[in-house]
Protein backbone atom coordinates (compact mmCIF):
# COMPACT_ATOMS: atom_id res chain seq x y z
CA UNK A 1 0.00 0.00 0.00
CA UNK A 2 1.23 3.46 -0.88
CA UNK A 3 0.30 6.79 0.68
CA UNK A 4 0.60 10.28 -0.65
CA UNK A 5 0.12 13.33 1.56
CA UNK A 6 -0.75 16.59 -0.13
CA UNK A 7 -0.44 19.94 1.61
CA UNK A 8 -1.18 18.57 5.02
CA UNK A 9 -1.32 20.87 7.95
CA UNK A 10 -2.55 20.51 11.50
CA UNK A 11 -3.45 23.05 14.11
CA UNK A 12 -4.27 22.38 17.74
CA UNK A 13 -6.10 25.29 19.38
CA UNK A 14 -4.46 27.77 17.07
CA UNK A 15 -1.02 26.29 17.57
CA UNK A 16 0.57 25.19 14.32
CA UNK A 17 1.85 21.64 14.69
CA UNK A 18 2.30 20.61 11.06
CA UNK A 19 2.50 22.72 7.93
CA UNK A 20 3.05 22.21 4.22
CA UNK A 21 3.54 18.49 4.48
CA UNK A 22 3.91 16.85 1.08
CA UNK A 23 5.29 13.38 1.04
CA UNK A 24 5.03 9.92 -0.38
CA UNK A 25 5.23 6.67 1.50
CA UNK A 26 6.45 4.07 -0.92
CA UNK A 27 5.35 0.50 -0.96
CA UNK A 28 7.40 -2.14 0.86
CA UNK A 29 10.08 0.32 1.87
CA UNK A 30 11.05 1.81 5.18
CA UNK A 31 10.31 5.51 5.28
CA UNK A 32 11.72 7.40 8.20
CA UNK A 33 10.49 10.58 9.85
CA UNK A 34 13.50 11.98 11.62
CA UNK A 35 13.59 14.98 13.86
CA UNK A 36 13.91 16.31 17.37
CA UNK A 37 11.15 15.87 19.95
CA UNK A 38 8.24 18.16 19.25
CA UNK A 39 8.92 18.26 15.54
CA UNK A 40 5.50 16.83 14.76
CA UNK A 41 6.51 13.27 13.88
CA UNK A 42 3.94 11.61 16.11
CA UNK A 43 1.13 13.87 14.91
CA UNK A 44 2.02 13.14 11.31
CA UNK A 45 2.00 9.42 11.99
CA UNK A 46 -1.41 9.67 13.64
CA UNK A 47 -2.85 11.60 10.75
CA UNK A 48 -1.58 9.04 8.25
CA UNK A 49 -3.02 6.24 10.38
CA UNK A 50 -6.40 8.00 10.24
CA UNK A 51 -6.49 8.52 13.99
CA UNK A 52 -6.55 12.26 13.57
CA UNK A 53 -7.97 14.60 10.96
CA UNK A 54 -5.66 17.10 9.29
CA UNK A 55 -6.71 20.76 9.43
CA UNK A 56 -6.07 21.13 5.71
CA UNK A 57 -4.78 18.88 2.99
CA UNK A 58 -5.46 15.45 1.68
CA UNK A 59 -4.19 11.92 2.10
CA UNK A 60 -4.43 9.52 -0.79
CA UNK A 61 -4.08 5.78 -0.40
CA UNK A 62 -3.20 3.43 -3.23
CA UNK A 63 -3.54 -0.32 -3.11
CA UNK A 64 -0.95 -2.71 -4.47
CA UNK A 65 -2.35 -2.48 -7.96
CA UNK A 66 -1.98 1.27 -7.89
CA UNK A 67 -5.69 1.97 -7.59
CA UNK A 68 -6.84 4.84 -5.45
CA UNK A 69 -8.67 3.77 -2.29
CA UNK A 70 -11.64 5.53 -0.79
CA UNK A 71 -10.98 7.50 2.37
CA UNK A 72 -14.38 9.01 2.93
CA UNK A 73 -17.10 7.30 4.85
CA UNK A 74 -16.92 5.32 8.06
CA UNK A 75 -16.89 1.91 6.37
CA UNK A 76 -14.05 2.79 4.04
CA UNK A 77 -11.92 4.27 6.76
CA UNK A 78 -12.51 1.19 8.90
CA UNK A 79 -11.47 -1.02 5.99
CA UNK A 80 -8.33 1.02 5.51
CA UNK A 81 -7.50 1.07 9.18
CA UNK A 82 -7.70 -2.69 9.24
CA UNK A 83 -4.86 -2.85 6.77
CA UNK A 84 -2.65 -0.58 8.81
CA UNK A 85 -1.26 -0.95 12.29
CA UNK A 86 0.36 1.60 14.55
CA UNK A 87 2.66 0.80 17.44
CA UNK A 88 2.85 3.82 19.69
CA UNK A 89 5.53 5.00 22.03
CA UNK A 90 4.84 3.68 25.55
CA UNK A 91 2.05 1.43 24.28
CA UNK A 92 -1.03 0.65 26.34
CA UNK A 93 -1.45 -2.92 27.44
CA UNK A 94 -4.96 -4.26 27.91
CA UNK A 95 -5.76 -5.43 31.40
CA UNK A 96 -5.27 -9.08 30.52
CA UNK A 97 -2.58 -11.64 29.67
CA UNK A 98 0.01 -11.23 26.95
CA UNK A 99 -1.78 -13.86 24.93
CA UNK A 100 -5.10 -12.00 25.21
CA UNK A 101 -3.44 -8.76 24.16
CA UNK A 102 -1.77 -10.20 21.11
CA UNK A 103 -4.84 -12.18 20.04
CA UNK A 104 -7.25 -9.26 20.41
CA UNK A 105 -7.04 -8.05 16.83
CA UNK A 106 -7.48 -11.55 15.44
CA UNK A 107 -10.48 -12.14 17.67
CA UNK A 108 -12.36 -9.03 16.67
CA UNK A 109 -11.72 -9.78 13.02
CA UNK A 110 -12.98 -13.34 13.54
CA UNK A 111 -9.88 -14.94 12.09
CA UNK A 112 -9.05 -18.62 12.26
CA UNK A 113 -6.01 -20.43 13.72
CA UNK A 114 -5.61 -17.73 16.29
CA UNK A 115 -3.60 -19.78 18.76
CA UNK A 116 -1.12 -20.91 16.15
CA UNK A 117 -0.55 -17.43 14.76
CA UNK A 118 -0.15 -15.88 18.19
CA UNK A 119 2.32 -18.51 19.37
CA UNK A 120 4.38 -18.03 16.23
CA UNK A 121 4.64 -14.30 16.66
CA UNK A 122 5.34 -14.58 20.39
CA UNK A 123 8.28 -16.78 19.59
CA UNK A 124 9.55 -14.43 16.92
CA UNK A 125 9.66 -11.62 19.44
CA UNK A 126 11.06 -13.66 22.30
CA UNK A 127 7.83 -13.45 24.30
CA UNK A 128 6.86 -17.11 24.49
CA UNK A 129 7.79 -17.44 28.14
CA UNK A 130 5.51 -14.51 28.99
CA UNK A 131 2.45 -15.88 27.22
CA UNK A 132 0.14 -16.06 30.24
CA UNK A 133 1.51 -13.23 32.31
CA UNK A 134 -0.67 -10.14 32.86
CA UNK A 135 0.63 -7.71 30.29
CA UNK A 136 0.63 -4.81 32.72
CA UNK A 137 3.36 -6.46 34.80
CA UNK A 138 5.91 -6.39 31.97
CA UNK A 139 8.92 -4.16 31.55
CA UNK A 140 8.94 -1.33 29.01
CA UNK A 141 10.84 -3.32 26.44
CA UNK A 142 8.59 -6.33 26.84
CA UNK A 143 5.48 -4.15 26.50
CA UNK A 144 6.84 -2.64 23.30
CA UNK A 145 7.42 -6.11 21.91
CA UNK A 146 3.91 -7.16 22.89
CA UNK A 147 2.51 -4.10 21.12
CA UNK A 148 4.56 -4.98 18.06
CA UNK A 149 3.35 -8.58 18.21
CA UNK A 150 -0.22 -7.37 18.63
CA UNK A 151 0.06 -5.46 15.38
CA UNK A 152 2.20 -7.82 13.32
CA UNK A 153 -0.03 -10.81 13.99
CA UNK A 154 -2.70 -9.04 11.94
CA UNK A 155 -0.39 -9.15 8.90
CA UNK A 156 -0.92 -5.49 8.01
CA UNK A 157 0.16 -3.94 4.74
CA UNK A 158 1.42 -0.89 6.51
CA UNK A 159 3.17 -0.58 9.84
CA UNK A 160 3.60 2.71 11.69
CA UNK A 161 6.23 2.74 14.42
CA UNK A 162 6.54 5.68 16.78
CA UNK A 163 9.95 5.69 18.47
CA UNK A 164 10.01 1.90 18.67
CA UNK A 165 13.21 1.62 20.65
CA UNK A 166 13.61 4.72 22.76
CA UNK A 167 14.08 3.99 26.46
CA UNK A 168 14.27 0.25 25.92
CA UNK A 169 16.67 -2.32 27.31
CA UNK A 170 19.40 -3.50 24.92
CA UNK A 171 17.87 -6.95 24.43
CA UNK A 172 14.53 -5.52 23.31
CA UNK A 173 16.27 -3.01 21.05
CA UNK A 174 18.23 -5.77 19.40
CA UNK A 175 15.22 -8.02 18.91
CA UNK A 176 13.21 -5.21 17.35
CA UNK A 177 16.03 -3.87 15.17
CA UNK A 178 16.89 -7.34 13.93
CA UNK A 179 13.27 -7.93 13.05
CA UNK A 180 12.70 -4.73 11.08
CA UNK A 181 14.55 -5.60 7.88
CA UNK A 182 12.82 -8.97 7.75
CA UNK A 183 9.33 -7.55 7.62
CA UNK A 184 7.77 -7.60 4.19
CA UNK A 185 5.52 -4.59 4.35
CA UNK A 186 5.48 -0.83 4.04
CA UNK A 187 6.96 0.65 7.17
CA UNK A 188 6.90 4.21 8.45
CA UNK A 189 9.27 4.83 11.32
CA UNK A 190 9.35 7.98 13.42
CA UNK A 191 12.49 8.49 15.45
CA UNK A 192 14.95 11.03 16.80
CA UNK A 193 17.71 8.44 16.72
CA UNK A 194 20.09 9.31 13.90
CA UNK A 195 21.78 5.96 13.77
CA UNK A 196 18.49 4.16 13.50
CA UNK A 197 17.34 6.40 10.67
CA UNK A 198 20.61 5.96 8.89
CA UNK A 199 20.54 2.20 9.33
CA UNK A 200 16.95 1.47 8.37
CA UNK A 201 15.54 4.42 6.50
CA UNK A 202 15.42 3.90 2.79
CA UNK A 203 13.92 7.34 2.52
CA UNK A 204 14.19 9.96 5.22
CA UNK A 205 12.05 13.01 5.86
CA UNK A 206 13.70 15.36 8.29
CA UNK A 207 11.16 17.33 10.30
CA UNK A 208 11.57 20.38 12.44
CA UNK A 209 8.83 22.47 14.03
CA UNK A 210 6.15 20.89 11.92
CA UNK A 211 7.83 21.27 8.53
CA UNK A 212 9.84 19.02 6.29
CA UNK A 213 13.28 20.63 6.17
CA UNK A 214 14.89 18.00 4.01
CA UNK A 215 14.10 14.71 2.36
CA UNK A 216 16.15 12.10 0.61
CA UNK A 217 18.14 8.93 0.95
CA UNK A 218 20.31 8.62 4.07
CA UNK A 219 23.53 9.21 2.12
CA UNK A 220 22.14 12.49 0.83
CA UNK A 221 20.91 13.77 4.14
CA UNK A 222 24.00 12.82 6.05
CA UNK A 223 26.47 14.33 3.67
CA UNK A 224 24.60 17.20 2.05
CA UNK A 225 22.53 19.09 4.56
CA UNK A 226 20.37 21.92 3.22
CA UNK A 227 20.49 24.08 6.30
CA UNK A 228 22.49 24.67 9.42
CA UNK A 229 19.67 23.12 11.44
CA UNK A 230 19.99 19.89 9.51
CA UNK A 231 23.74 20.02 9.63
CA UNK A 232 23.73 20.48 13.38
CA UNK A 233 21.10 17.83 13.84
CA UNK A 234 23.06 15.22 11.96
CA UNK A 235 26.16 16.09 13.93
CA UNK A 236 28.17 17.98 11.42
CA UNK A 237 30.46 19.96 13.66
CA UNK A 238 32.11 22.22 11.14
CA UNK A 239 29.62 24.77 9.92
CA UNK A 240 30.57 28.29 9.01
CA UNK A 241 28.95 31.32 7.50
CA UNK A 242 30.71 33.27 4.83
CA UNK A 243 30.85 34.47 1.28
CA UNK A 244 31.93 33.10 -2.07
CA UNK A 245 34.69 34.86 -3.94
CA UNK A 246 35.83 33.99 -7.40
CA UNK A 247 39.45 34.33 -8.48
CA UNK A 248 41.03 33.12 -11.69
CA UNK A 249 38.22 30.71 -12.28
CA UNK A 250 38.54 29.20 -8.81
CA UNK A 251 35.94 29.64 -6.15
CA UNK A 252 36.79 30.34 -2.57
CA UNK A 253 34.75 30.41 0.62
CA UNK A 254 35.76 33.30 2.85
CA UNK A 255 34.98 33.59 6.50
CA UNK A 256 37.01 35.87 8.72
CA UNK A 257 40.68 35.52 7.85
CA UNK A 258 40.31 32.21 6.14
CA UNK A 259 40.00 31.34 2.50
CA UNK A 260 38.97 27.81 1.61
CA UNK A 261 39.02 26.51 -1.92
CA UNK A 262 35.73 24.92 -2.80
CA UNK A 263 33.66 23.50 -5.61
CA UNK A 264 30.15 24.86 -6.01
CA UNK A 265 27.63 26.43 -8.33
CA UNK A 266 26.35 28.83 -5.70
CA UNK A 267 27.34 32.43 -5.19
CA UNK A 268 27.11 35.15 -2.59
CA UNK A 269 26.46 34.62 1.10
CA UNK A 270 26.48 30.93 1.94
CA UNK A 271 27.09 28.34 4.64
CA UNK A 272 29.88 25.80 4.45
CA UNK A 273 29.96 22.42 6.17
CA UNK A 274 32.74 19.88 6.44
CA UNK A 275 32.60 16.43 8.00
CA UNK A 276 35.27 15.85 10.63
CA UNK A 277 36.19 12.56 8.94
CA UNK A 278 37.27 14.41 5.82
CA UNK A 279 40.06 16.30 7.56
CA UNK A 280 43.61 14.93 7.47
CA UNK A 281 46.03 15.95 10.19
CA UNK A 282 49.78 15.99 9.73
CA UNK A 283 52.90 17.36 11.34
CA UNK A 284 54.26 18.61 8.02
CA UNK A 285 52.56 20.50 5.26
CA UNK A 286 51.05 18.02 2.85
CA UNK A 287 51.72 18.43 -0.83
CA UNK A 288 48.81 16.45 -2.14
CA UNK A 289 45.65 16.55 -4.19
CA UNK A 290 43.93 18.21 -1.23
CA UNK A 291 43.58 21.83 -2.33
CA UNK A 292 43.22 23.10 1.21
CA UNK A 293 46.07 22.89 3.66
CA UNK A 294 46.33 25.11 6.72
CA UNK A 295 48.46 25.50 9.79
CA UNK A 296 46.59 25.62 13.00
CA UNK A 297 46.83 25.06 16.72
CA UNK A 298 45.19 22.27 18.66
CA UNK A 299 42.81 23.84 21.16
CA UNK A 300 40.94 20.77 22.36
CA UNK A 301 41.52 17.04 22.56
CA UNK A 302 38.79 14.67 23.61
CA UNK A 303 38.79 10.90 23.65
CA UNK A 304 35.64 9.09 22.58
CA UNK A 305 36.23 5.38 22.83
CA UNK A 306 38.71 4.44 20.11
CA UNK A 307 38.56 7.86 18.49
CA UNK A 308 40.00 11.21 19.38
CA UNK A 309 38.15 14.43 18.59
CA UNK A 310 40.66 17.14 17.80
CA UNK A 311 39.65 20.78 17.67
CA UNK A 312 42.06 22.92 15.68
CA UNK A 313 42.03 26.69 15.48
CA UNK A 314 43.04 28.09 12.08
CA UNK A 315 43.18 31.87 12.04
CA UNK A 316 40.27 32.15 14.41
CA UNK A 317 38.10 29.54 12.72
CA UNK A 318 37.60 26.28 14.66
CA UNK A 319 37.86 22.94 12.81
CA UNK A 320 36.73 19.66 14.31
CA UNK A 321 38.71 16.63 13.13
CA UNK A 322 38.71 12.94 14.05
CA UNK A 323 41.66 10.56 14.32
CA UNK A 324 42.16 7.08 15.66
CA UNK A 325 43.94 6.59 18.95
CA UNK A 326 46.92 5.15 17.11
CA UNK A 327 47.20 8.18 14.86
CA UNK A 328 47.01 10.47 17.84
CA UNK A 329 49.96 8.69 19.36
CA UNK A 330 51.97 8.46 16.16
CA UNK A 331 51.49 12.14 15.43
CA UNK A 332 52.05 12.92 19.09
CA UNK A 333 49.06 15.23 19.23
CA UNK A 334 48.92 17.48 22.24
CA UNK A 335 47.10 20.57 23.33
CA UNK A 336 48.45 23.85 21.89
CA UNK A 337 50.64 21.99 19.44
CA UNK A 338 50.83 23.34 15.92
CA UNK A 339 49.41 21.00 13.35
CA UNK A 340 48.62 21.03 9.66
CA UNK A 341 45.18 20.11 8.48
CA UNK A 342 44.20 19.29 4.93
CA UNK A 343 41.02 18.47 3.06
CA UNK A 344 39.79 18.38 -0.49
CA UNK A 345 37.85 21.23 -2.05
CA UNK A 346 35.09 18.81 -2.98
CA UNK A 347 34.67 17.69 0.63
CA UNK A 348 33.30 21.07 1.62
CA UNK A 349 29.56 21.18 1.25
CA UNK A 350 28.23 24.62 0.36
CA UNK A 351 24.62 25.52 0.87
CA UNK A 352 22.36 28.50 1.14
CA UNK A 353 20.35 28.47 4.32
CA UNK A 354 16.84 27.25 3.56
CA UNK A 355 14.51 29.31 5.63
CA UNK A 356 11.41 27.27 4.76
Amino acid sequence: MKIRAINLSKRFNGKRVLEDINLEIEENRITCFLGPNGAGKTTLLRILDLLEEPTTGEIVFYNQAGLRLQVTGYRNRLELRRRMVMVMQNPIMFNDTVYANVSYGLRIHHKKNIEQKVDEILEMLGLDRLRNIPARNLSGGEKQRVALARGLVLEPELLFLDEPTSDLDPLSIRIIEDLLPQLKMTIVLATHNLLQAERFGQKIYLLNQGKIVQEGRPEQIFTQPYSSFVAEFIGLENIWQGEIIEENGNKFFCSGNLRIEIVTELEGKVHAALRPEEILLSNDALHSSARNCFLGKIIDLEQRGAIFLVKVDVNGLPFQAMVTKKSKEELDLQLYKSIYLAFKASAVHIFKERTT
Partner: protein
Protein backbone atom coordinates in the same frame (compact mmCIF):
# COMPACT_ATOMS: atom_id res chain seq x y z
CA UNK B 1 -35.76 -4.28 78.18
CA UNK B 2 -37.55 -7.58 78.50
CA UNK B 3 -40.19 -6.93 75.84
CA UNK B 4 -37.40 -5.87 73.47
CA UNK B 5 -35.45 -9.10 73.97
CA UNK B 6 -38.69 -10.98 73.52
CA UNK B 7 -39.29 -9.17 70.26
CA UNK B 8 -35.80 -9.94 69.03
CA UNK B 9 -36.31 -13.58 69.96
CA UNK B 10 -39.57 -13.69 68.04
CA UNK B 11 -37.95 -11.96 65.09
CA UNK B 12 -35.24 -14.61 64.90
CA UNK B 13 -37.97 -17.19 65.12
CA UNK B 14 -39.50 -15.66 62.02
CA UNK B 15 -36.22 -16.06 60.19
CA UNK B 16 -35.35 -19.67 60.99
CA UNK B 17 -37.24 -21.04 59.13
CA UNK B 18 -38.13 -17.88 57.14
CA UNK B 19 -41.81 -16.98 57.16
CA UNK B 20 -43.36 -16.73 53.70
CA UNK B 21 -44.34 -13.14 54.44
CA UNK B 22 -40.71 -12.25 54.96
CA UNK B 23 -39.58 -14.01 51.84
CA UNK B 24 -42.22 -12.15 49.88
CA UNK B 25 -41.07 -8.77 51.20
CA UNK B 26 -37.39 -9.45 50.68
CA UNK B 27 -38.05 -10.89 47.25
CA UNK B 28 -39.95 -7.82 46.18
CA UNK B 29 -37.20 -5.55 47.55
CA UNK B 30 -34.60 -7.34 45.50
CA UNK B 31 -36.85 -7.39 42.46
CA UNK B 32 -37.73 -3.68 42.56
CA UNK B 33 -34.21 -2.53 43.31
CA UNK B 34 -32.79 -5.02 40.83
CA UNK B 35 -34.97 -3.71 38.06
CA UNK B 36 -34.26 -0.16 39.14
CA UNK B 37 -30.57 -0.98 38.85
CA UNK B 38 -31.01 -2.43 35.36
CA UNK B 39 -32.90 0.67 34.27
CA UNK B 40 -30.31 3.01 35.72
CA UNK B 41 -27.47 0.94 34.28
CA UNK B 42 -28.82 1.23 30.76
CA UNK B 43 -29.32 4.97 31.06
CA UNK B 44 -26.40 5.75 33.33
CA UNK B 45 -23.75 3.74 31.52
CA UNK B 46 -24.72 5.27 28.20
CA UNK B 47 -24.70 8.76 29.66
CA UNK B 48 -21.38 8.17 31.41
CA UNK B 49 -19.82 6.79 28.25
CA UNK B 50 -20.88 9.66 26.04
CA UNK B 51 -19.90 12.23 28.60
CA UNK B 52 -16.45 10.68 28.80
CA UNK B 53 -16.27 10.66 25.00
CA UNK B 54 -17.00 14.36 24.61
CA UNK B 55 -14.87 15.18 27.61
CA UNK B 56 -11.78 13.63 26.02
CA UNK B 57 -10.68 17.11 25.16
CA UNK B 58 -12.45 19.09 27.85
CA UNK B 59 -14.36 22.16 26.76
CA UNK B 60 -16.92 24.41 28.38
CA UNK B 61 -19.88 22.45 27.05
CA UNK B 62 -18.78 19.08 28.36
CA UNK B 63 -17.86 20.56 31.72
CA UNK B 64 -21.35 22.07 31.90
CA UNK B 65 -22.91 18.67 31.27
CA UNK B 66 -20.84 17.13 34.04
CA UNK B 67 -22.05 19.88 36.37
CA UNK B 68 -25.65 19.15 35.45
CA UNK B 69 -25.04 15.49 36.18
CA UNK B 70 -23.69 16.23 39.60
CA UNK B 71 -26.63 18.49 40.35
CA UNK B 72 -29.01 15.69 39.39
CA UNK B 73 -27.16 13.48 41.82
CA UNK B 74 -27.71 16.01 44.60
CA UNK B 75 -31.47 15.86 44.14
CA UNK B 76 -33.02 14.60 47.39
CA UNK B 77 -34.75 11.26 46.91
CA UNK B 78 -38.02 12.51 48.35
CA UNK B 79 -38.17 15.24 45.72
CA UNK B 80 -37.84 12.60 43.04
CA UNK B 81 -40.64 10.73 44.78
CA UNK B 82 -42.75 13.86 44.84
CA UNK B 83 -42.21 14.53 41.14
CA UNK B 84 -43.06 10.98 40.18
CA UNK B 85 -46.12 11.03 42.41
CA UNK B 86 -47.41 14.22 40.85
CA UNK B 87 -46.94 12.78 37.39
CA UNK B 88 -48.72 9.52 38.04
CA UNK B 89 -51.48 10.58 40.42
CA UNK B 90 -54.99 10.50 38.90
CA UNK B 91 -55.08 14.24 38.29
CA UNK B 92 -51.55 14.17 36.88
CA UNK B 93 -50.43 14.03 33.22
CA UNK B 94 -49.78 10.30 33.28
CA UNK B 95 -52.55 9.52 35.73
CA UNK B 96 -54.58 7.59 33.16
CA UNK B 97 -51.92 4.87 33.21
CA UNK B 98 -52.93 4.07 36.77
CA UNK B 99 -49.35 3.35 37.73
CA UNK B 100 -49.31 4.98 41.13
CA UNK B 101 -48.81 2.59 44.02
CA UNK B 102 -47.42 -0.14 41.78
CA UNK B 103 -44.03 -1.87 41.71
CA UNK B 104 -43.48 -0.39 38.23
CA UNK B 105 -43.57 3.17 39.44
CA UNK B 106 -41.27 2.22 42.33
CA UNK B 107 -38.80 0.81 39.82
CA UNK B 108 -39.05 4.03 37.84
CA UNK B 109 -38.40 6.24 40.86
CA UNK B 110 -35.48 4.13 42.03
CA UNK B 111 -34.11 4.13 38.50
CA UNK B 112 -34.23 7.91 38.38
CA UNK B 113 -32.48 8.07 41.73
CA UNK B 114 -29.73 5.63 40.73
CA UNK B 115 -29.03 6.86 37.19
CA UNK B 116 -26.90 9.88 38.09
CA UNK B 117 -24.84 7.70 40.44
CA UNK B 118 -24.14 5.16 37.71
CA UNK B 119 -23.58 7.92 35.18
CA UNK B 120 -21.07 9.95 37.15
CA UNK B 121 -19.12 6.94 38.43
CA UNK B 122 -18.95 5.36 35.00
CA UNK B 123 -17.96 8.74 33.54
CA UNK B 124 -14.99 8.77 35.89
CA UNK B 125 -14.25 5.11 35.09
CA UNK B 126 -14.18 5.72 31.33
CA UNK B 127 -12.33 9.00 31.62
CA UNK B 128 -9.62 7.34 33.67
CA UNK B 129 -8.98 4.87 30.87
CA UNK B 130 -7.62 7.72 28.83
CA UNK B 131 -7.52 8.57 25.17
CA UNK B 132 -4.72 6.13 24.42
CA UNK B 133 -6.72 2.98 25.13
CA UNK B 134 -9.41 4.13 22.74
CA UNK B 135 -6.85 4.76 20.04
CA UNK B 136 -5.04 1.49 20.58
CA UNK B 137 -8.34 -0.35 20.18
CA UNK B 138 -9.22 1.62 17.06
CA UNK B 139 -5.80 1.24 15.51
CA UNK B 140 -6.20 -2.52 15.80
CA UNK B 141 -9.19 -2.21 13.50
CA UNK B 142 -12.11 -2.34 15.91
CA UNK B 143 -15.44 -0.88 14.82
CA UNK B 144 -17.41 1.37 17.13
CA UNK B 145 -19.34 -1.39 18.90
CA UNK B 146 -16.21 -3.47 19.43
CA UNK B 147 -14.48 -0.43 20.85
CA UNK B 148 -17.30 0.23 23.31
CA UNK B 149 -17.34 -3.40 24.48
CA UNK B 150 -13.59 -3.43 24.94
CA UNK B 151 -13.68 -0.17 26.88
CA UNK B 152 -16.35 -1.61 29.16
CA UNK B 153 -14.17 -4.67 29.62
CA UNK B 154 -11.11 -2.58 30.43
CA UNK B 155 -13.07 -0.52 32.95
CA UNK B 156 -14.95 -3.52 34.32
CA UNK B 157 -13.92 -3.18 37.94
CA UNK B 158 -14.69 0.50 38.22
CA UNK B 159 -18.02 0.01 36.45
CA UNK B 160 -18.97 -2.85 38.75
CA UNK B 161 -18.16 -0.63 41.70
CA UNK B 162 -20.49 2.00 40.23
CA UNK B 163 -23.35 -0.50 39.97
CA UNK B 164 -22.84 -1.78 43.47
CA UNK B 165 -22.78 1.75 44.86
CA UNK B 166 -26.03 2.56 43.05
CA UNK B 167 -27.69 -0.63 44.26
CA UNK B 168 -26.70 0.08 47.85
CA UNK B 169 -28.31 3.51 47.53
CA UNK B 170 -31.66 2.34 46.27
CA UNK B 171 -32.15 -0.79 48.29
CA UNK B 172 -32.01 1.28 51.47
CA UNK B 173 -34.25 4.08 50.17
CA UNK B 174 -37.37 4.47 52.30
CA UNK B 175 -39.24 7.76 52.00
CA UNK B 176 -39.44 7.99 48.24
CA UNK B 177 -40.35 4.32 47.85
CA UNK B 178 -43.11 4.73 50.43
CA UNK B 179 -44.49 7.81 48.75
CA UNK B 180 -44.86 6.30 45.29
CA UNK B 181 -45.41 2.71 46.36
CA UNK B 182 -47.72 2.99 49.31
CA UNK B 183 -46.41 -0.10 51.10
CA UNK B 184 -49.42 -2.18 50.07
CA UNK B 185 -49.20 -5.62 51.66
CA UNK B 186 -48.36 -8.31 49.16
CA UNK B 187 -47.99 -5.80 46.33
CA UNK B 188 -45.70 -2.86 47.03
CA UNK B 189 -44.34 -3.73 50.46
CA UNK B 190 -40.54 -3.82 50.45
CA UNK B 191 -38.05 -4.18 53.30
CA UNK B 192 -37.48 -0.50 53.96
CA UNK B 193 -41.11 0.62 53.83
CA UNK B 194 -42.21 -2.40 55.85
CA UNK B 195 -39.66 -1.70 58.58
CA UNK B 196 -40.87 1.88 58.82
CA UNK B 197 -44.59 1.17 58.96
CA UNK B 198 -44.63 -2.08 60.92
CA UNK B 199 -42.38 -0.66 63.62
CA UNK B 200 -44.62 2.42 63.87
CA UNK B 201 -47.62 0.12 64.27
CA UNK B 202 -45.84 -1.62 67.14
CA UNK B 203 -45.16 -4.79 65.16
CA UNK B 204 -41.54 -4.91 66.31
CA UNK B 205 -40.84 -8.53 65.41
CA UNK B 206 -41.38 -8.03 61.70
CA UNK B 207 -39.44 -4.80 61.77
CA UNK B 208 -36.48 -6.37 63.53
CA UNK B 209 -36.49 -9.47 61.31
CA UNK B 210 -36.47 -7.38 58.15
CA UNK B 211 -33.89 -5.06 59.68
CA UNK B 212 -31.52 -7.98 60.23
CA UNK B 213 -31.88 -9.09 56.64
CA UNK B 214 -31.39 -5.58 55.32
CA UNK B 215 -28.24 -5.25 57.43
CA UNK B 216 -26.90 -8.50 56.05
CA UNK B 217 -27.65 -7.37 52.51
CA UNK B 218 -25.91 -4.05 53.14
CA UNK B 219 -22.82 -5.77 54.57
CA UNK B 220 -22.58 -8.20 51.68
CA UNK B 221 -22.81 -5.31 49.22
CA UNK B 222 -20.17 -3.33 51.04
CA UNK B 223 -17.86 -6.30 51.27
CA UNK B 224 -18.09 -6.96 47.54
CA UNK B 225 -17.47 -3.29 46.83
CA UNK B 226 -14.32 -3.25 48.89
CA UNK B 227 -13.00 -6.39 47.23
CA UNK B 228 -13.49 -4.86 43.82
CA UNK B 229 -11.96 -1.54 44.66
CA UNK B 230 -8.66 -3.14 45.51
CA UNK B 231 -8.36 -4.49 41.96
Amino acid sequence: MNPLFEAIGNALGMLFPPKSEILEIVGLSLFVSGCGLILSTCLGLTLGFFLAQINLSPNRFSTLLVNILHTWMALPAICIGLLVYLFFTRQGPLGSLGLLYTPQVMILAQGILATPIVASLSFVAFKQLGKEVRETILSLGANYLQMVLMLIKEARFALLAALITAFARIIGETGMTLLVGGNIKGYTRVMTTAIALETMKGNFELGIALGIILLIVAFIINFCLQRIQTK
